[in-house]
């Protein structure tokens, strides 16, 4: 299976966790990685630059209709929901979901609906239950589900809620998740013929955006 998108959701304690997760990714990491971090509606580009400090991959805040390209780390902008289309992003200012905009569930559900079994969901530290139903959607569509081992999370509520929703998700430490994603990323680029034929029938994807 070639994975085409990784979505990571986190809230309280997320900055430190994300910095550790991203620092562990290899330089040639080839799967687009999308970060949804709860934050204040008027927060600026600080998150993006603090993540950029830790990786050679390109970290950028998403603008509407930006193409999804491998080797990039995309950050959901404050005060918008981030939706995953086939090959690009759309933003939305629809009402907050359970007090959150961006909502992790919204991004995860759209990633699951659009990329099906080629999506990977990761739920990290946080003090609420956002991301749980989204992770379940990814898992139900045949994608991969990772959860930060609650005992190792700064705030265990969010990973615990995700595990309650998806009991068979892989519960790992940040270092282990990072290594697992790194391995996926190395496989991610060229799918060989055998794995290609094992893919379930999905809508044909439009050509990659410029």
């Amino acid at each position: 299976m070639a994975y085409e998108i990784i979505v990571v959701g986190t809230s309280w304690g997320g900055l430190a966790a994300l910095r550790e997760l991203i620092a562990g990714l290899p330089a040639g990491f080839a799967v687009p990685l999308v970060v949804v971090q709860h934050r204040h509606r008027q927060s600026d580009h600080l998150l993006t630059s603090l993540l950029q400090d830790r990786t050679a991959l390109c970290v950028c805040e998403v603008e509407d209709k930006a193409p999804i390209a491998p080797g990039n780390i995309y950050v959901a902008p404050a005060d918008y929901h981030l939706l995953v289309e086939s090959g690009y992003f759309s933003l939305s200012t629809d009402d907050p979901v359970r007090f959150s905009r961006p909502s992790i569930d919204v991004t995860f559900q759209s990633a699951a609906d659009t990329y099906g079994p080629r999506a990977v969901g990761v739920v990290l530290t946080g003090a609420n239950a956002d991301g749980a139903t989204g992770l379940k959607r990814i898992f139900d569509r045949g994608g991969l589900a990772f959860v930060q081992l609650p005992a190792t999370a700064e705030s265990p509520t969010m990973p615990a809620a995700a595990l309650a929703c998806v009991p068979t998700a892989q519960a790992l430490t940040l270092a282990e998740i990072s290594a697992a994603l790194g391995a996926l990323g190395a496989l991610g680029a060229p799918a060989d013929v055998a794995t290609e034929s094992m893919k379930p029938t999905m809508a044909a994807r439009p050509p990659e955006c410029p």
């Binding site: 008027q42 805040e61 998403v62 603008e63 509407d64 209709k65 930006a66 902008p77 005060d79 918008y80 939706l83 995953v84 289309e85 086939s86 690009y88 759309s90 933003l91 939305s92 200012t93 629809d94 009402d95 919204v106 559900q109 759209s110 609906d113 659009t114 099906g116 139900d140 569509r141 045949g142 379930p200 029938t201 999905m202 809508a203």
Partner: protein, 290 residues
Amino acid sequence: MALPLRPGRSLNGPPLSYDAELERIEIELLLEGVYRHYGFDFRSYAYASIRRRLWKRIEAEQLSSISELQALVLHDTSAMERLLLDLSVSVTAMFRDPGFYQVFRNEVVPLLRTYPFIRVWHAGCSTGEEVYSTAIVLEEEGLLDRTRVYATDINDAVLQQARAGIFPLNRMQEYTENYIRAGGTRSFSEYYTAKYDGALFSPTLTRNVVFSQHNLVTDRSFAEFNVIFCRNVLIYFDRDLQNRVHALFYDSLAMFGVLALGSKESLRFSQYEPCYEKLDPREKLYRKIK
């Protein structure tokens, strides 16, 4: 006669798993039906967000599929009105992105001062938060009297709300903070009267505003403007439709007119980018230069 089934399909029982391709067929059929029966064209809306909004409506109507929603809205006008609200309302706030209004005041207002008469268009004004925010800035800068504002939306119900000028009282604290950060020069509470749970904004703010129905997807340009506001409306459109609307805006702007987009929108993916210059490195204010 046997139907030619696609691989993996069976006529015995429901599909075992989610079928993204079938869902797309259902959504396209529903949008086509709505367009042909009611004339509202959502066929070029961004797929992931329209899918999300359709499913929200399906759950609210206690249905279980897109096709059921299609049957309901085609036969029940009131259900269509509810769906229209879901699909067409953009949620916003007064002085959303205070930094934007600060740059508007500092960079755009001086340009507008040079005109004897100013025409402003709020395209997709929804419930009017931005119309009132901008009117407050123009009033404080002494420009409102020589400005004519056209505030348009596809949806008549939200226009009525915008015209009434009543906003939820429980948002006023947030709006006041935004107003101060946006460089407001007075006390925000001067602009409204609190009554029950609503804040009624002063009708003098809309003395030069015309609220009117206009469909960005199907209607043409109707005047030449010095400023066009269209913030966080195009995010709901696909790239093709965005380009068509950018053509409409380009045709509707006077030379050196200003186009104001949402803070995470960009002309970067539009063919009209070379026709504009940026007025600010950060905020999405563009000036037509050719």
